[in-house]
Symmetry: C2
Subunit: 199 residues, 2 copies
Amino acid sequence: MAQVFPTIKESAGLRLPAWVHSFIQNQTYDFSQTQERMRLAIDLSRENLVQGTGGPFGAAVFELPAYRLVSVGVNVVVPQHTSLAHAEILALLLAQEALLTHDLGKRRLELVTSSQPCLQCYGAIFWSGLSRVVTGARAKDVEALAGSDEGPLPQDWEGEWRKRGISLETDVMRVQACAVLQAYQESGAPIYNPARSTP
Amino acid sequence: MAQVFPTIKESAGLRLPAWVHSFIQNQTYDFSQTQERMRLAIDLSRENLVQGTGGPFGAAVFELPAYRLVSVGVNVVVPQHTSLAHAEILALLLAQEALLTHDLGKRRLELVTSSQPCLQCYGAIFWSGLSRVVTGARAKDVEALAGSDEGPLPQDWEGEWRKRGISLETDVMRVQACAVLQAYQESGAPIYNPARSTP
C-alpha cells in the first residue's frame, strides 16, 4: 500500500521587482566602458534599497564583444522568500532563460556585480559558463557594512576561476558600491544570516 | 535622452518534472530511518535518469523531529536550461516556497541528497538555514563517474558547516547512490561542465 504524502510544491519562480524595467529604460549608459556597466549594477543596488524590494545588491550580464545587455538582477531574498535570490543568481537565471541554454560558455558573457559574490554565487559561476566577472565592493566590505557571513571562499578564489577560464576585474567603483552598503547599514535594515537551530 | 534597451526577461521558474508527484505517491518509505530518507533521494536520482528529465541527482527536505517530507528536487539543468537547477537547489527553493520563508533556520530542517553537494549547493546551504545535511555518494564519486568538476570546496568543508551549526552525515547508502552514477556514465549521457570561451 502506497504512502499518502502531503501535497508538495512542484514549482517556484523568481522575478525582478516591478520598478526595474522602467528604471533602466530611463537611464543612459555607455556600456562599452567598464565603469558604466558597473554604474548600472550599483544603480540597481541603490534603487532596490530605496524601493524596499530586497538587499542592497545589483548585477547585470553583458554579451561581449558588443557589451549588449542580456539580463539584470537584484537581491530579492526576503520579499520572494528564498535565500537563493541573490542579485547574481537572478541575473544568471534570467540570462540563461533569455538565451535558452544552461551553458553561457557557448558565447562570451560577463557578469558585473555591485559586490564580490558570496560563496553560493561564486560556486554558481563555475557551472554557468560565464567568461568574465567584474566586481565592485569586496566581500570584506559586505561583511563589515551589511553584516553577513559571506562563507569560506577558497584562499585563491580568483586563481580557481582563472584556472577554468573565468577572468576577473575587481574594485571597479568600489567606493560608490560601498556607499550603498553604508546606506543599507544606516537604514537599520535586517542582516540576512539565517537563524541557527541545532537538530 | 534615455537609452532603449532590448526587452529583458523579468521572471523565470523551476519546476519538478511531471512524473515526480505520482512517482513518490506510489512508494512507501519509513522516513524515521535515515536510510529510508536516503532511499527516496536515490530513487528520485534513478528515475530522473530513466525518464530523461535531467542529471542523476535527487534530494529531499524533511522537517525534524517527525521527519515530515517538505520538498523534493531532481537535477533539471539541461531541460530547464539553467545551470542553477541542481537537485539540492530545487529542493531548497521548493522548501522555502512551501514554508514561505527565506530562513529555514526558524525550524529544524534536514536536506538529504543522493550525492555530496557541489560548491554552488554547498554555498547555498550556508544561507538557507538548513540544520542538517545527509549525503550518499561523495564528490569524488561524482567526479569519477559523472565527470563533472565539483569546484574547489574548502579542505575542511564539513568543519565550516559545523562551525555554523549545520550537522552532517555522509556515505549513507553510498554504494546505491554510486550505482545510479555508474548507470549514468554507461548511458553515455552528457557531462555538465560548461564550455569555456576566453574573452
